[in-house]
Amino acid sequence: MRVQSTPRALLSSVAVAAVGALALAGCSTGPETPQYSGTLTVWVDADRAAVLEDVAAQFQEERGVEVTLVQKDFGDIRDDFTTQVPTGEGPDIIVGAHDWLGKLVQNGVVAPLELGDKASEFQQVAINAMSYEGQNYGLPYSVENIALLRNTDLAPTAPTTFDELIAMGQASVDAGDSEYPFLVGLDPNAADPYHLYPLQASFGATVFEITPDGTYDPTKLALGVAGGEAFAQKLAEWGAMGVLNTNISGDIAKEEFNAGKSPFYLTGPWNVPAAAEAGINYSIDAIPSAGGETATPFVGVQGFYISSKSENALAANEFLVNYVGTEAVQTALYEVGGRAPALISAFEAAQGDADVAAFGAVGANGVPMPNVPAMDSVWADWGATEVAIINGQGDPVELWQAMVASIQSKIEG
């Protein structure tokens, strides 16, 4: 019996010691300590993490607040953030794309960000993209858009209209120089409304009406205008001609262009390094208009958001606006990711790179991809309808109008 009571006494004394130690530890981080003990948690993807390490160290040194960078898969950040913020366990800051914003606001997980006078130092399109219902929510760091990649060996001059592009491409095919008049990566089941959007926009059909301040009015669907129907008819025509082929996926399009099998390729900066590596002599041109108006691509913006439940609001704001929003950091982010900086001074400094300058010029008239929560349903109907039209599965105008009706009903939900 004595043997038995000893461990028990031992255990209870251990427990008492443990509790005491914890209590002491609690005291030592009490309010008297001059140094702020909290940390700023930032969720970043791998590429961004490397750049932010330096600025995080600088922030800690100058401001005394530790910044913890948590590396996450970019695709997981939005959902994990949305589910974790309400529990109070989420990070203070995340990196994200601007088209997440509507969903983040709808779920109440993102806090407004006051850029103050700094707002004018960013490209207007980036600020517009980071705004939702008149409120700014994020610090942008990059803008990117698609443009026309031209194989200068196969097409020495840039086409001015899309019809001219088709004629030039067809001539190249007829001459036996290339296999495809034009390439764009599509999906057999979902086409790619994002890549086809500039052509649609040249008919004057945006997704939602654009208000005078450059943002979308998500209640007013603009797909159904006459220009949209004209675009639908053209889609059917291009599909029948073989200019558009839904069986040419993004990978196939990239491969075929890099093999020198097409003079034209509608794509973004992310596919340019591979083309250069493949030895293609290329030029980055404006997207030729198909419907008469300027063929403006969607602009995608990436940036940083602050959690609505962050207990480090001031520190997070300071870190983003005065540390990440500086030319040095924006340039470093550009150099790692290859995406053009959102800060005007950094963007101008990056103009030395001809590719960045060329894509920037094309994106200058671009509108941000809509960031309203209803976009998920828009993309699905939009893409499936484009597939049907391109493959001639029905009357293009009827299909287009059916799509508009379907999207309208979902938005009104």
Binding site: V14, G108, E318
Partner: protein
């Protein structure tokens, strides 16, 4: 050189045996010192973790979880410190992890089915109110940037602001700005100190940031003029709020129009016309989600077709993979076959690939214009494998056959090898032909051991998300019919679309309700299947 007598434990390790003896023989229930120490240190680790968790929970005031954690910790200590209770000592860890990883998850998703949890209803009502108010707070257009110094006096904070014109004001929560001409300025003309107040440096600012970030200093006595707030502690901006929360009436009020948004029990503030403010919050909705599963047009329309196809897909997948797997198992079970091991390894390969990877590979192979199948096998024909509704159905079945037969091959090989050769021999002696031996002897014996696996395979294929999602994404869709479901959509991919993808937003509540419905279907089919299997066993 002592040799142990047969039947006794060889004294290979005399010392542990010697110390172990008293425990088992002389003093039952009195453990050795060493095992006691191990036990105590393990318990100490568990307890220290538990104490840490309890402290965290205590600080967060989550009482329910705190109570559960406390009870579990006490129970663990009781079980392992009290002599005896041997079954509990063995079972406790298993039960603990079962509760965490199985029971909790199942109960929680069951609970979610009765809430409106999803996009727009993501958190608590308090969070929603906070977000609505914060999002409606906008900076007054063209208002200046005030340079700010935060002051402290008797534990309350004040704003010392300098306007662009160089005027200096001081104010605090509910204390409108007042001129402070006596403030000391720095070289840039920014006011930095005021008598009677302590100026906060950045460190103290950060320490009190949650309070300072919430500080709202009225510009004048008239609240409509707006209030100063600071996002960073060094500058202040003038904000007006388009919406305000009336705590007494539990309503959000539009400050411009006076319109009131009330909590109408739908987990959101809504006005008379039914327009809801975003975000809303999570509430319990009872059986609404189950009702929606059967009444909502976007789901009900395609539901019957999708259920029929799901059953067809699951049954055909099981049937085809079993037939092929069994055939190959019989062929490769033939002792006269050379190189059996090599063939068997090759046949297992599809099973070794992750199914979503195989899905992507097959997606490329079946491409209408560029895929290997059309280009090489069919000599350049343009067969729309994945874009024609019926061919797409056939394609997913074929790919699933390719993915699934190795499993069936494996279990059939195992089952065949466990059937005693004597039975076959006896039948042969009795003059039975090979087909009769197979049909009347081997196959029924095989089914006894394989049938439960066929049922589980059915349940697996019923929810075979990977193959469908990677190969066709549920498509092709008939857009002119106005139906969201595609030709190859299974129940599970349709649910995924409705709940996570192309619908109007993520709806975890509806998804959980569907998960429960799917579980019921699969459970019913499985129960019937297992009943039949038991009958099969009785036969033998």
């Amino acid at each position: 050189m002592t040799t142990s007598t047969p039947g006794t434990t060889p004294p290979l390790a005399p010392r542990p045996a010697a110390t172990a003896k008293p425990r088992g023989v002389h003093h039952p229930g009195t453990p050795s010192v060493r095992s006691m120490l191990i036990k105590i240190s393990l318990l100490a680790i568990v307890d220290s973790l538990a104490v840490f968790a309890l402290f965290t929970l205590l600080l967060k005031e989550s009482w329910v979880v705190f109570g559960i954690a406390l009870a579990v910790t006490l129970a663990i200590n009781y079980i392992y410190l009290k002599p005896g209770l041997l079954p509990a000592k063995y079972l406790a860890p298993g039960i603990f992890f079962l509760a965490i990883f199985q029971i909790f998850v199942v109960v929680y998703s069951g609970y979610i089915a009765f809430t409106n949890y999803g996009d727009g209803h993501n958190g608590s009502k308090e969070d929603a109110i906070e977000s609505i108010i914060a999002n409606a707070r906008t900076r007054v257009p063209d208002s200046p940037t005030y340079r700010l110094t935060v002051l402290e006096q008797f534990g309350t904070f004040s704003f010392l602001v300098t306007t662009p014109e160089g005027e200096v004001f001081v104010g605090g929560e509910d204390r409108p700005l007042d001129e402070a001409p006596s403030a000391r300025l720095d070289s840039t003309g920014k006011a930095i100190e005021l008598d009677g107040y302590t100026t906060l440096d950045f460190g103290s600012l950060i320490q009190n940031q949650s309070v300072i970030a919430d500080l709202s200093v009225p510009l004048t006595d008239d609240p409509n003029d707006g209030a100063l707030r600071t996002p960073d502690g060094s500058s202040a901006y003038l904000y007006t709020s388009a919406l305000e929360y009336d705590a007494e009436a539990d309503a959000i009020v539009d400050t411009a129009t006076g319109e009131r948004f009330l909590d109408r029990g739908d987990g959101a503030f809504a006005n008379e016309a039914g327009r809801e403010l975003s975000p809303g919050w999570k509430i319990d909705v009872g059986f609404d989600n189950f009702a929606r599963a059967f009444t909502e047009e976007s789901i009900r329309g395609p539901l019957l077709g999708v259920i029929a196809w799901t059953f067809a897909f699951a049954l055909l997948s099981v049937g085809m993979t079993f037939a092929l797997g069994l055939f190959l198992a019989i062929v490769f079970n033939e002792a006269r076959m050379r190189g059996r091991k090599f063939y068997r390894i090759v046949l297992i390969l599809p099973y070794a690939f992750p199914s979503f990877l195989s899905g992507l590979v097959w997606l490329g192979l079946l491409n209408q214009d560029f895929g290997f199948v059309n280009q090489v096998v069919f000599g350049g024909a343009a067969i729309p494998w994945l874009t024609d509704p019926w061919l797409a159905k056939a394609s997913v079945l074929i790919v699933n056959l390719w993915l699934g037969f190795p499993y069936m091959f494996l279990i059939c090989t195992g089952a065949l090898q466990s059937i005693p050769d004597e039975l076959t021999e006896a039948a042969r002696v009795d003059g039975a032909r090979p087909w009769a031996i197979f049909r009347l002897i081997k196959f029924p014996l095989l089914l006894v051991s394989v049938a439960p696996l066929l049922i589980s395979s059915f349940a697996f294929n019923f929810n075979n998300f990977n193959v469908i999602y990677m190969l066709t994404g549920g498509g092709p869709r008939n857009v002119s019919a106005g139906v969201d479901a595609g030709a190859t959509d299974l129940l599970i991919t349709l649910v995924y679309k409705v709940a996570f993808g192309s619908g109007t937003g993520r709806d975890y509540g509806l998804a959980s309700a569907f998960a429960i419905l799917i579980f019921i279907i699969v459970a019913v089919v499985s129960i019937i299947g297992f009943r039949r299997t038991r009958a099969l066993e009785d036969l033998n």
